[in-house]
Symmetry: C5
Subunit: 374 residues, 5 copies
Amino acid sequence: MQIEGTAALFARRAPPAGSRPGHFVVPDDAQPTAIRALIFREGHCEERSVTSAEELVEATAAPGVTWIDAVGLGDGSLLHWLRDALGVHPLAVADIAHTGQRPKYEDYGERDLIVVQAVESEDGEGVSIEQVSMIVARDFVVTVTERPLPLFDPVRERVRSGTAMVCRMGADFLTYTLIDTVIDGYFPVVEEIAEVLNDLEDEITERPTEKTLGYLHTVRRTLLAVHRVMYRQRDALGTMMRAEEAPFSAPVRVYLRDAYDHSLQVLDSVESYREMAVGLTDVYLSSMSNRLGEVMKTLTIVSTIFIPLSFIAGVYGMNFEHMPELGWVWGYPAALLLMAVVAGGLLYSFWRRGWLRRRRRYPLDDADGADAER
Amino acid sequence: MQIEGTAALFARRAPPAGSRPGHFVVPDDAQPTAIRALIFREGHCEERSVTSAEELVEATAAPGVTWIDAVGLGDGSLLHWLRDALGVHPLAVADIAHTGQRPKYEDYGERDLIVVQAVESEDGEGVSIEQVSMIVARDFVVTVTERPLPLFDPVRERVRSGTAMVCRMGADFLTYTLIDTVIDGYFPVVEEIAEVLNDLEDEITERPTEKTLGYLHTVRRTLLAVHRVMYRQRDALGTMMRAEEAPFSAPVRVYLRDAYDHSLQVLDSVESYREMAVGLTDVYLSSMSNRLGEVMKTLTIVSTIFIPLSFIAGVYGMNFEHMPELGWVWGYPAALLLMAVVAGGLLYSFWRRGWLRRRRRYPLDDADGADAER
Amino acid sequence: MQIEGTAALFARRAPPAGSRPGHFVVPDDAQPTAIRALIFREGHCEERSVTSAEELVEATAAPGVTWIDAVGLGDGSLLHWLRDALGVHPLAVADIAHTGQRPKYEDYGERDLIVVQAVESEDGEGVSIEQVSMIVARDFVVTVTERPLPLFDPVRERVRSGTAMVCRMGADFLTYTLIDTVIDGYFPVVEEIAEVLNDLEDEITERPTEKTLGYLHTVRRTLLAVHRVMYRQRDALGTMMRAEEAPFSAPVRVYLRDAYDHSLQVLDSVESYREMAVGLTDVYLSSMSNRLGEVMKTLTIVSTIFIPLSFIAGVYGMNFEHMPELGWVWGYPAALLLMAVVAGGLLYSFWRRGWLRRRRRYPLDDADGADAER
Amino acid sequence: MQIEGTAALFARRAPPAGSRPGHFVVPDDAQPTAIRALIFREGHCEERSVTSAEELVEATAAPGVTWIDAVGLGDGSLLHWLRDALGVHPLAVADIAHTGQRPKYEDYGERDLIVVQAVESEDGEGVSIEQVSMIVARDFVVTVTERPLPLFDPVRERVRSGTAMVCRMGADFLTYTLIDTVIDGYFPVVEEIAEVLNDLEDEITERPTEKTLGYLHTVRRTLLAVHRVMYRQRDALGTMMRAEEAPFSAPVRVYLRDAYDHSLQVLDSVESYREMAVGLTDVYLSSMSNRLGEVMKTLTIVSTIFIPLSFIAGVYGMNFEHMPELGWVWGYPAALLLMAVVAGGLLYSFWRRGWLRRRRRYPLDDADGADAER
Amino acid sequence: MQIEGTAALFARRAPPAGSRPGHFVVPDDAQPTAIRALIFREGHCEERSVTSAEELVEATAAPGVTWIDAVGLGDGSLLHWLRDALGVHPLAVADIAHTGQRPKYEDYGERDLIVVQAVESEDGEGVSIEQVSMIVARDFVVTVTERPLPLFDPVRERVRSGTAMVCRMGADFLTYTLIDTVIDGYFPVVEEIAEVLNDLEDEITERPTEKTLGYLHTVRRTLLAVHRVMYRQRDALGTMMRAEEAPFSAPVRVYLRDAYDHSLQVLDSVESYREMAVGLTDVYLSSMSNRLGEVMKTLTIVSTIFIPLSFIAGVYGMNFEHMPELGWVWGYPAALLLMAVVAGGLLYSFWRRGWLRRRRRYPLDDADGADAER
């Protein structure tokens, strides 16, 4: 889901109100389903393609730990298989189908549901959020995503190798590894947002334009979206970490604590950036208002000097017959002198008020500008 | 209740202070009461019309599960029947009569009260909120609404069919189904608000008018109303979900958790939209202030150039007899040249300050504007 | 206490710091004390006037339930009687004397103290808050107010009738009834504030004046005062409702839950109105800023058109001897034509920028204005 | 500590980082120490001066309850005596030396530490905050302040009298009495701040100046300081009140609850005033912006009327030879008439826009202004 | 880490998403590792240099308490030694390598991890934050920092002396001492920020410039960073303080409470300063807006006076042949008189509106300015 406007930002696919509980709807444009099963036992990993409910059950029942890695909702067959053949609760299946769920951990007894949201930066074009639904059982994990998730490639590689730590542990450690990968995927995205914010900070301090606030608003919207997802993700991790009878064994719970810690760090950063962005809005508005002040000062100085001078000129442009000054030889120079005196007095008064000191926006001031930045 | 102004938004029908506890008042313009009883048992559903206290008691006592579906408060007879014939607590009856209650779950022993608020969008004319009061007992559910609620039609259909899941479960599952339907009814409304907000976002970024903020204010008010109702709804669901001795059995509590989850999603979205709306207010104000800046800049440029030129013209319009320049052959061209030099110098200084760069609001810039949006 | 300014809003009568704990001060202008005792037992109610400590003890010791209804602090004798003859804790007595207490429930063993704050609207002149102090024992309730409280009249009537529900229950139900009456007294006041806010909303959207924000500020202050009092009231009710060994029996606690629920509704409304008021402040400021923009636009259009024209006139008003145009027959019409061309060009440029479109504030637009309101 | 600027507001005396834990530093300008011991037993009170560690131990060991009332840190001997002779924990001693501690109650076993902060108004010059450190044991209380605290004078008097309630109770009641005195000392200070705020409210509504916001800022800063101290004070009182094995006996805990209640009242008021102050900032800014609007309107009206008139005059001041109007007998009156018509038209258009209605800031409007205030 | 821009402010070194859990990356520019072991037992302290895993194990196994004081991550050997030779959990090792962790206390059984962040002021150039990672075991403490931390020098001295309190206690007291030193290091930094804020307050009240808000923004950013770090530090201290089975013995937990208290004080101050900074933003914006008002008032006064006068002059500069006033002997003086009357009337009207009263920004007003400051 690419974040394009406010409406799309928090969308959730949902069946019409009043539908049968557990009823699910698969979108027409869903990608075809591709299911791989990775079955691993100490030092060994077997990879199969799964194309039917029978193969699915067989793969999950194989000795060792099985990772069913499904991509694409297709025509919904996968979801039916999960519900009917694997015994996944209908509500859990509906949550897999209706992406845009909040991250959560739901205990359904033997087949628990975990939903996390992976985030990927799209080359400065915003972020895209992709739901990763997981069904966690004692010996297998099913992951379902709508589109292929490059984020999981390194994990797939390690599992295939058959020798990594993940291969020596159970399904709970695999689950942790996938969640941790999703969480760690937030760091580069947040860093990218931070850089955009940094650039905006420079722009606002040095040369704000009308569009700057629009950009800032977009950054704030993205931060809001990331914050909202990560906030729920942290809650879900906290629940998993504390659940005594969860599918997670004690040693894996230590690892979950680490993932929880990472989610807190992401949240801390995002919250800090959100506060920075609010502060920048103030700086921007003040900066634009200073610019207006500069414009008005120019107008005032020029008008205030020339309007009285023009008045003097206007007086001696009157056509009265009896204006003795007009006949004087020194009349014209005297009038010019009077004008100069008036202009000089006004300039002096402006100077005293500090209006003539130059706005510092030019080369020599850049150093000062940098000072202000520290 | 259509939301028309702030005062109406949070209205609550209430008896005068100091009334006897449990005293209730039925509004004069209440719709006449229409009561249908849907009695269902595995695979079979019977529908009756109920017009007296006796029929009401009879229907609830019928074997199987009974849904008493009452619409309209009428002359209050229904409420008296509930209190006197069915043994509903007087305070619960008063809460049914005085619509505008906060959503809640109140345990009165055998006849619990659940209040939820259904929301319906009115063709972009705002939202209307309709109280759904439910009396939940072991074998029957009474629902009371002031007006017919189309939202419940699919549930009625499923119950009548006699074969749906709801027919195989108890009164608690029927209660859940109705609550879930009410909660799911918020999604399209929130989506509609999001679209309005999206349009406002475009309008503010591209061509804000004086009225934009008024619209934004209306959207914020609607979001506030939805948030307030849903917030309490979530609390009520949480209480139901956790109550050990509630009318809800363990399997149904799993379903309630799903409804709770949906209420959280609605809340999350509404909160996000509220934050967006606040941010948009800033963008709007900044945009209006930029427009003012543009106006002032135009005034300043024109005045600052022509006021000095007019002054020069004024000087040579003076009628002194001894003004040698006036007699020079090249006097006039020289004066024009002086004016051109002054104007050129001022223009150059404006150009250096960046005041002459064009405001980018015209066709070619729309692409850029779209960039800012991403 | 009428709310007149900020300082008075949250005033509290207090003895000087360092006074003996339990020391109390009665204000000089206290109303004389009038004490009525209402003693009721199933179906029967006796009313007495109480004028001495002995009569007070006698009344409270009478069989049945006694309501000591005291109005006015007088010379403080009542407070001494309560402390010395009835055994009320000195700190509780001090709290009765020093009105402006926060609403609270304090368990002193046999003689508990409940403080609530009743609110009355003063014909749109603001609200007045009146402390109701209650001493609750097993068989009697003492209520003390500084001034007569019309709010309690219906309750007095019901008690006197001897047949109402309140007469069949204990002192705890009477206490509940009084508290409930106080809470329900907030609804009309909040409704009145909502109507004022509604009017302000119309005023701000359609014709804001300089004073509007002052009114809005006053409304916000009143809402703040009501919120603060009700917030504490809710807490006190929560404590009463949950206290196991409180003077409240289980059936009465069900009624207290209803009063608690009402207090939550008042709070919800007040909080919503406070948020609306904050939002209206933004709309107001934006509206005033738009008006300034309209003024500036007028100035800019007129100045920008006429200043260049005046310059042209100024040029041909110069007195150079060698200005060939002056002698041309078509010189004057040509100059006028030049002026018309310049003016036309400027007008066209303003029209393109949308500056000439009319502000929509006149009759025909009222319909649109109403649209914005929805 | 007088509050003079932001930096001083929240200062805390501290030893350099890395010092030995419990290490303390006494400031060079500390007042000399003066220690009085008040030893009281039912109906009798003895007062001694204490000048050595031995006398200190002797006084605390005397039968009855002892109040060691120490003023001034002097050369730190007192602190050494406390630590070495009385067995006070080194960290507690360090907290006494380093004033500016947050209010707190720390259980060190036999010698508990209580820190509260007393506040005194300085004749409208701001507030001063003075730390009161207390060491509470079973039979004695040590209080240490940097400067004499007039607030405690009434308590000293009551103790000396030997007959007050405080003399009949234990060290815990004395501790409560002192804390209560400190808390009650906040009421007059908060009231004084409220009056300043009230004056500012009038000033802002009627005649705001450039300085008003500076004053408001100062009031906000003072409220912030008082809030922060009282907030922690409330927490400390809550801890004391709830601690089961604290030095406080059950009857005294009832009194502590009263002090806790007073601290809540102070907090409520301070929070309300802070919100009022924020609201006033908005009103002020709007008021200043209205004044600017008034200035601009004046400029616009005058300029918009006279600039076109001057243009007409300029046209007929041109020196073209062929300007037939100039020769007409009625030319001059016609030109004047044209000017009058233009001016009248413009005035009518301004009147229609409501720009000519007078700003209501003069005598007759004061009544209205007062209305707005209600 | 020096705080230079927003992006750098909350940076965290992290391995790529999808890495093996516990995988760590050492930056290329890491300082070479220097490890000192301080082994102390009552009254005696031995210091060794550690250069291999064997020496590390030997030092930690020596009788007495050992402080392994490691500076610089070097090529990562230290981290491998910790993990492989000392048995530190891989996740803890990764947290040491990836600086920028949030402060925390993590219980890994025998080898607990504590992360704190030390802060140092950089001569008014901002603050730098340095991660201090600690591995705490029963008999030894390992501290790892990226760069030498002068803050620890006094502690090192005390340990080396062999006689300080820290030498008589266990590893837990040493841990506390180091944490306390880090916390106390915040006080001078916060004080420095407070002084900058104080200067800004003066600047804003007396002579705000365009850059002031930029500086204020920088201060707010720094306060945000300090707040965020200290907030988590306080949480970690709270966890340590409460943990029953932690490495901390009961007497040391009393000391930890003191460190917790200090962290609360830092937080309180930082929060207060943040609120002050927000308030100052308002004062600044209002001050800049007042300046604009002053500029506009000048323009308005000058324009409003001279534009009508120029109009009068323009009228008598018209060249109509039949303008009788032009021929009058007193025409010119009469015109001048008319102009004087008009100017006088306008000045009087401005004076009545209070526009001519001088802005008080000059020497004599400084006293008043100081008043406003109080």
